[in-house]
Symmetry: C2
Subunit: 132 residues, 2 copies
């Protein structure tokens, strides 16, 4: 199945909604864009992976309830779609309560009807220079 | 497209081949299981993401040339397939020259004919307790 520009744009928009929900500390908005399934998984930087929507949701509620003022500037965004799966690899530049940091992220999505739902988030700190 | 047990097993085998190549420090074996494409991406723990097969390959050659004796014990492996995309979320328990550590990983694969090729690897250190 070839990628279409429409699919890429739809995944781009779904990914943007993820960061909009995070910046708004809005757990309901976050919940609305995730796939509520056993295969949903979420890896917050430095933490063990969380599996299954109920636990993923619970962690978001803790994180978003305590996050304070968070702003993301997403750079080096690469979006790919193969059939009903899309993924975004990017750099998350974060400003949290005035402190800044950067992480590498992959978010992946599965299409359900007209919606692309987040099925996985894997974030990691960037702490060393490029390899090579 | 429903998942088939055969597809899950094929992705499981492709993922195992990744760690076999790593443990053998065999850059040719590693190259043989990756998709050689612009969308190939690789995030080694702590490092910025590398994009595109030529740079991904170059980093593997540096890493595998210097890795020493590395053993992986993969735990909490979850494998999913949607159409021609598969992903594996797992814990990498590593022993490198006698020192041990753990990381969270997602590896993703795209089917090409009968082969599942690695198109993305995103590894991260586990450095803090579970959230919640």
């Amino acid at each position: 199945v070839a990628e279409s520009a429409d699919d890429i744009e739809a995944v781009r928009a779904a990914n943007a909604s993820f960061y909009t929900a995070f910046e708004a500390c809005d757990a309901e908005a976050m919940a609305s864009i995730w796939e509520h399934s056993d295969r949903a998984s979420c890896t917050h930087p430095g933490a063990p992976t969380i599996h299954g929507w109920p636990d993923v949701d619970a962690a978001w509620r803790l994180i978003l309830g305590a996050a304070g003022v968070t702003q993301f500037i997403i750079t080096e965004e690469r979006i790919e779609v193969v059939g009903d799966v899309g993924w975004v690899v990017a750099v998350e530049n974060m400003i949290v309560n005035g402190a800044s940091g950067a992480g590498s992220v992959v978010n992946w999505f599965v299409r359900a009807g007209q919606q692309w739902r987040v099925v996985g988030h894997h974030g990691a700190p960037i702490s060393r220079p490029p390899i090579g």
